[in-house]
Subunit: 218 residues, 2 copies
DNA sequence: ATACCAACCAACCGGTTGGTCTGTTAATAT
DNA sequence: ATATTAACAGACCAACCGGTTGGTTGGTAT
């Protein structure tokens, strides 16, 4: 019953683990807004509620914090990929599952696409290692290869079509403030309905973009 | 025969118009690398060959230069849109023409996608006015609406599918350094063959992503 | 109780960067 | 020729920002 009855629980103050987590959350937002270069350590500290020094105490330097943010994001995505049914006999269903799970991950964290765009453009992918990119793309490439070879998909290049499919999924999140004017004023691009609409459209377009034209009956 | 025989030609030195052009070119590269925030005026000046002061002399401030770069990019794209056949009786062909001309524009200037991404994420689209976005997207939205209503396309939402289509086209250019590791080492993502491959794939996937499934031979 | 250390803060430092100020030189008109 | 002005250069500044330093405080083991 007492606040510190359990051995491990620390009473909220002086909790290093919790502080690191809060810094990571704030940093994710800030890096999404400005990338490694444009993010301000002061801004991260302000959002977190601790002093700027804590960033350097816990993560070494700005770059260390950045890598920690990237690492966490990749790990989370890889975790949900492993929980998804991607080896279904129907490659169409496998593709549908992959894209659907990807888009649900994104809707839970709309900042991630921006962070990875920054990583590619600003840092030329320096911190987004070969291993990370492969682990994120390989399952999708594999599905496309299987579908292409079995004839269930059109004769698409697996790598190019994989990249294009990811692009179709994430562009919306990276361009919200550019394209928001296309919708009637007051429309909130991150509202539940809009997010769901985008997911439906992206899944349907994705599948249709590679699916073989319907075989003449029989 | 003399170097300054023609009235209009200025001998290369003290040519304000040419200097502005060179600054714009250098700025486009630099803004593509870091956005309005991350671009360094010194770097732009260095690439141009003139002093940093010239930027402020010709464009007022960093923001003025940035707006000039955006303006020029939008104008050029609008110009080619107007030269493209987008009102063909076949909406499929109209769509194909739009995407193809878009991708050919991009291959001539791979920096543009990054600039517009930065604009949306960093500046929240402040300088990418409602007018600009509309003039760039409206023709595509129109094609999708026509195709959807006539039944030649599936029952897609014109706005969402338009955004997704653009995403499929530009993602490759914005993520080159992230996804380059997917291809065998040494592959140049900006080589003529890769660019052409990407354009073919993007056009085919785009059309397939909205095209109605083939009617039973009737 | 008290010694100890991880967790934290406030003040400060040095390099970077957008922008300015003072001048200088090349073209042009008269 | 010479006055005028647009097109340039270079030195400089104030603000900003990543990172450091020295010191403080709260939990904890003995």
């Amino acid at each position: 019953m007492s606040p510190s009855s359990t051995k491990k629980s620390t009473p909220a103050t002086r909790d290093a683990e919790a502080t690191r987590g809060r810094i990571l959350d704030a940093a994710e937002e800030e890096f999404a807004r400005g990338g490694l270069l444009g993010a301000r350590t002061e801004a991260i500290a302000a959002k977190t509620g601790v002093t700027k020094s804590m960033i350097f105490y816990h993560f070494g330097d700005k770059e260390g914090l950045y890598q920690a943010v990237l690492q966490r994001a990749v790990s989370m995505r890889v975790a949900t990929i492993q929980k998804t049914d991607l080896h279904n006999a129907s490659v169409e269903l496998s593709l549908r599952n992959f894209v659907d799970s990807f888009l649900r991950d994104l809707s839970g964290n709309p900042n991630l696409p921006a962070i990875f765009f920054y990583e590619g453009i600003q840092n030329k992918g320096k911190f987004y290692s070969q291993i990370a990119i492969t682990s994120l793309y390989a399952p999708l490439v594999d599905i496309l290869k299987r579908g292409s070879e079995s004839g269930q998909f059109r004769d698409v290049d697996p790598l190019h079509s994989a990249v294009n499919i990811i692009g179709m999924c994430v562009f919306y999140y990276c361009s919200i403030d550019n394209v928001k004017h296309l919708w009637p004023p007051g429309t909130n691009p991150l509202s539940t309905e809009m997010i769901e609409m985008h997911r439906r459209m992206a899944v349907e377009q994705t599948v249709a973009s590679v699916l073989a034209p319907c075989k003449t009956t029989e």
